[in-house]
């Protein structure tokens, strides 16, 4: 995380440490900002001090003091098969219409989750929203449309690539153009992006606006910590420096939820206390874990539209998967809140239960071995009748392994970002189209040669990236040579085509996974994928992949 140099040592406070502040001349004498200063959006004197640690932040929250973590599964919800063979998971046929009533155990008022099939721990499900948008089948990868657009791709093309949900960044949209503008002037991000098709031929006036895709927004917490030149997490919220106005701003959980309400996404995320997974301050991790629970409560309080926007909590806890460790503490905290909400639901006859869960704190540089163990731990504890969303994960191999462990949803900038660098995704790995080996042969030069010795790449450069891929480039027969020439000339069409290919590839990957789960052939799919990904060399399959698949009850070896 890069930070700008500053003359004031106290201002250089990372999110990993809490340091003693050096008082500035215009900082309040008691070191505590005034209420006015801390209310969201108000500049804090252009200087700020890191907050001193309060002892209560390190103490176990009251709701967790009665939990006996020595008992196996204390932090886990009631599980179904395969975790609990005595309890069968209700399987719903694929075309079953959704219900959004409080009487249904598989739904809330804004989300209906149907599990259509399982194979081991892998699940194939369908998520419905009451918004006239397409159903979201899982496993599902969500490409990231950071600033309200998917990098040169039209909304119709997003739908044509069979992408039913994309992600937008609250942080970027709050800065430009502003979420209030999106709501007040355009009626939400769906309208703003042109993601609604108005069916003028449909005589049903109530149902003639069809959404081409659904939206998920993150809270902005990760971007603030990773992108803002200066950021400091306080109990009130995150203090950061606006990259445009250079003012210091405070984003509270309430502000994040307000922005996400204005954007109008179908799934919104709580603001969590984000720390890099490679940091080392144990106290800071403990504070972040408990603060994430407290901030979730504030997010719920601030959430104005629970009947049409689903607020997902984010499970934190660093990489600590020990019994009674931070991950279990966080899970137990959310379990307590979920049970509280369900009791409230019974009293008020309204849906209040948590609609789905996100697994956070990963994809930040930790080892793969630690990574898969956290995912495994989360899936073993989280409820089986609600979607599980693993944040920031987007490598195809990671998707396959984590689906085997029980994850439903993923998001990452990787496919779209790497496309802009001329890298196309295939099962075998990557094709770096800008490399010289993909340049066209020059028949006028007798010296021309192409390197065909690299067995890790498909060097047949006059063929499409993947002849079986239904993307625009592959379907039209656009060769790798042609893409190479467009990319080297910095022609935008080259970037568009590779972006569409990568997104289509990810959609096809999750579709293939889903199909194999429904056909109960996920084991074979995994083996075939690994075989192609590692060029038929079993020795090169990493240990973490072997361990993770073994934990999922799958064999990673394939027969030649």
């Amino acid at each position: 995380m890069k930070r700008k140099a500053t003359d004031d040592a106290a201002v250089v406070a990372t999110s990993n440490t809490i340091t003693t502040a050096t008082r500035m001349s215009d900082v309040p004498s008691d070191g505590v900002p005034s209420q006015q200063q801390l209310d969201g959006g108000v500049s804090y004197n252009n200087n700020y001090d890191p907050e001193p640690i309060r002892p209560e932040w390190l103490e176990l929250p009251p709701e967790l003091r009665s939990v006996d973590f020595t008992v196996d599964g204390a932090a886990a919800w009631d599980k179904y098969e395969p975790y609990n063979p005595q309890r069968s998971l209700p399987i719903v046929p694929i075309d079953t219409p959704p219900t959004f009533s409080s009487s249904s155990s598989s739904s809330s008022s804004a989300l209906c989750f149907h599990i259509n099939g399982i194979d081991g721990r892998a699940r194939a499900a369908t998520i419905h929203f009451p918004n006239n948008g397409p159903p979201v089948t899982t496993p599902r990868f969500m490409p990231v449309g950071t600033k309200g657009t998917l990098k040169g791709v039209l909304p119709d093309e997003i739908a044509a690539m069979e992408c039913p949900i994309i992600l937008a960044n609250t942080y970027h949209l709050a800065i430009q153009p502003g979420t209030e503008l999106i709501d007040q002037v355009f009626g939400g991000l769906h309208n703003f992006m042109g993601g609604i098709r108005r069916d003028t031929d449909n005589n049903d006036n109530n149902n003639n606006n069809k959404r081409l895709y659904n939206l998920l927004t993150d809270s902005g917490g990760f971007q603030m910590v990773s992108l803002a030149a200066l950021s400091n997490v306080t109990e009130k919220g995150v203090v950061f420096q606006s990259p445009y106005s250079k003012e210091h701003m405070l984003l509270r959980p309430e502000d994040s939820i307000r922005c996400q309400n204005e954007i109008g996404a179908d799934i919104i995320m709580q603001l969590d206390d984000v720390i890099s997974s490679v940091a080392t301050n144990e106290d800071r991790f403990r504070i972040a874990t408990f603060r994430t629970l407290r901030w979730y409560d504030r997010c719920v309080q601030a959430h104005q539209y629970p009947h049409r926007q689903n607020l997902f909590p984010i499970v934190q806890g660093h990489l600590d998967t020990s019994r009674g460790g931070l991950r279990e503490l966080c899970l137990a905290g959310f379990k307590h809140r979920d049970q509280q909400q369900q009791r409230q639901q019974q009293q008020e006859k309204q849906q209040h239960r948590i609609p789905g869960f996100a697994i956070g704190g990963l994809a930040g540089g930790e080892s793969k071995d630690e990574f898969w163990k956290v995912v495994d731990h989360a899936c073993r504890h989280l409820p089986d009748d609600r979607p599980r969303y693993l944040m920031g994960v987007g490598y195809p191999l990671d998707l396959v392994v984590c689906t085997a462990l029980g994850v439903d949803m993923y998001d990452c900038v990787y496919p779209t970002r790497t496309a802009r660098f001329g890298v196309a995704l295939v099962d075998e790995g990557q094709i770096k189209l800008k490399q010289h080996q993909f340049a066209a042969k020059n028949p006028s030069s007798a010296d021309m040669t192409i390197n065909n010795n690299n067995s890790n790449n498909n060097i047949n450069s006059n063929t499409p990236i993947d002849k079986d891929c239904p993307c625009e480039a592959c379907r039209r027969g656009v060769s790798k040579e042609r893409l190479h020439s467009l990319l080297k000339a910095n022609n935008p069409v080259g970037v568009q085509l590779v972006t569409q290919h990568n997104v289509t590839y990810m959609m096809q990957l999750v579709t293939r996974m889903r199909k194999s789960i429904l056909e109960r052939s996920f084991q074979q799919f995994v083996q075939q994928f690994l075989r192609r990904h590692f060029s038929d060399d079993q020795e090169s399959v990493p240990q973490w992949v072997r361990d993770a698949l073994q934990a999922a009850g799958l064999s990673w070896k394939w027969t030649s």
């Binding site: 153009p177 703003f192 992006m193 042109g194 467009l486 069409v493």
Partner: protein, 440 residues
């Protein structure tokens, strides 16, 4: 004389439409850098700009047919080979580009249904063309490369396989503001004729003479009229050498079709008269209105998209509700999104475009042009001005895509209007002129 449709006053048309009594169908020739239509993928191109829309494509060898060259394989001795005294050839990895060369490259398959014209270059930055009788220096995306006439003939005819090919030419700096050196002009003229003859010979062998266009240069306005007339006469006297069309290179100006200059003496059996490049909207419509040219070339839609401006001026029969004129009707204040501040309307530039980076668009929910059926504005304005402004501020590629599609659609609509014949071309030009700021 026809009344001005805006204020009803009579206005004399300044467009000379007397040169060609019979108007031919007009086509727009769009410059396709790198051999592909700017910004649009194949599906978008086919859906929104099918061949029937009057769109022709201009491909230039300058950027569509230049490829890198690499080192040749190097013989290496493997370790074992020292004992066996055998030499094993190991292909060298093409890590370093040794240079660039022109080579044949087939066009993208989805361009084949379109009428395509190949030119050696669309614009050459050289102030002084480095040319001899065999080749000419051309600025490519990979620097300056020498394009030989024989290579051009082969690449253009056999490689790109366009419907029409303009022969290689040395424009001798016709776009230069300096008066051309008469020696250089004569040399260039001689080269161009030589290269035309070479291309015609190649075309005859392939029975493709009807695919050849000869280039003709439009002299700059600051050049001596006598020199100009001599040059134009020279061009016309040389004749088309059987070429099916003529491609005019340089900047158009009034008066080139009157008098005794050579342009008026271009043989009538030359079917295609193309002006390769136009640089402003007014120039485009004036040339389209004249009826002399049946193909008008331009790069304006892509240029405007890159500059983040949108063409909104229209030659409609009534005032447009989107244009910032004093007679714009006020929007209903209760209408959702009716928040446009009429006091701060965007201003038109001299091309009839609005700058989408202007903050005045930030809260504007309207489409670029009400009622426009382009990819950007259709369906009641799915992509609003506010959204396009946001994309421009966020430096997103989608902004250029949407603006290009809109600008190209608008220009094709102008072409269609001229082709319909329902309105006097001079009226169309005058209507547009009246809506442009500072139009002469």
């Amino acid at each position: 004389m026809s009344p001005n449709p805006v204020d009803g006053t009579a206005e004399t048309s300044s467009v000379d439409c007397s040169c060609s009594p019979k108007r031919e169908m007009l086509h727009l020739l769009l410059y396709c850098k790198d051999g592909c239509v700017p910004y649009l993928n194949p599906t978008q191109l086919e859906q929104y700009f099918p061949p029937s829309s009057g769109l022709w494509l201009c491909l230039s060898v300058q950027d569509a047919c230049v490829f890198p060259m690499f080192d040749k394989p190097v013989k290496k001795k493997a370790k074992d080979d020292v004992i066996n005294k055998k030499t094993k050839e190991v292909p060298a990895e093409p890590k370093k580009v040794r240079g660039y060369a022109f080579a044949s490259a087939p066009p993208d398959p989805w361009l084949l249904p379109y009428t395509r014209v190949t030119v050696p270059y669309f614009s050459n930055k050289n102030k002084e063309q480095l040319a001899d009788n065999k080749s000419i220096c051309v600025w490519t995306p990979h620097g300056r490369q020498r394009l030989a006439s024989e290579t051009y003939a082969k690449v253009a005819m056999e490689g790109l396989q366009s419907n029409y090919t303009v022969s290689l030419f040395d424009d001798a700096g016709v776009s230069s503001v300096k008066q051309p050196d008469s020696v250089r002009w004569q040399k260039a003229h001689g080269r161009n004729n030589l290269w035309l003859e070479q291309l015609v010979q190649v075309a005859k062998q392939q029975d493709a003479l009807d695919r050849i266009w000869r280039p003709v240069f439009l002299p700059p306005s600051n050049h001596d009229d006598e020199v100009n007339n001599d040059a134009m006469t020279n061009e016309s006297q040389t004749g088309s050498l059987g070429a099916a069309g003529v491609a005019f290179v340089g900047k158009w100006r009034h008066g080139l079709l009157t008098g005794n200059n050579g342009m008026a003496q271009i043989p009538d059996d030359v079917k295609w008269k193309c002006l390769l490049s136009t640089t402003s909207l007014l120039e485009f419509v004036e040339i389209a209105a004249q009826g002399y040219f049946n193909i008008v070339g331009t790069d304006l839609p892509a240029l405007w998209a890159k500059e983040k401006v949108a063409l909104i001026v229209q030659p409609q029969r009534g005032p447009s509700t989107n244009e910032p004129t004093a007679k714009r009707p006020k929007l209903d204040a209760d209408e959702k999104g009716g928040e446009t501040d009429h006091a701060n309307e965007p201003t038109l530039d001299f091309n009839g475009c609005i700058d989408m980076s202007d903050k005045v668009h930030a809260r504007d929910p309207r489409p670029l042009v009400e009622g426009c059926t382009c990819m950007t504005c259709q369906h009641g304005g799915r992509f609003s001005r506010g959204y396009i402004h946001h994309l421009v501020c966020a430096k997103e590629l989608l902004a250029e895509i949407l603006l290009f599609a809109h600008n190209l659609h608008h220009m094709l609509e102008l072409i269609r209007l001229f082709n319909e014949g329902g309105s006097d071309p001079a009226d169309i030009v005058n209507t547009i002129k009246s809506r442009l700021p500072n139009a002469k």
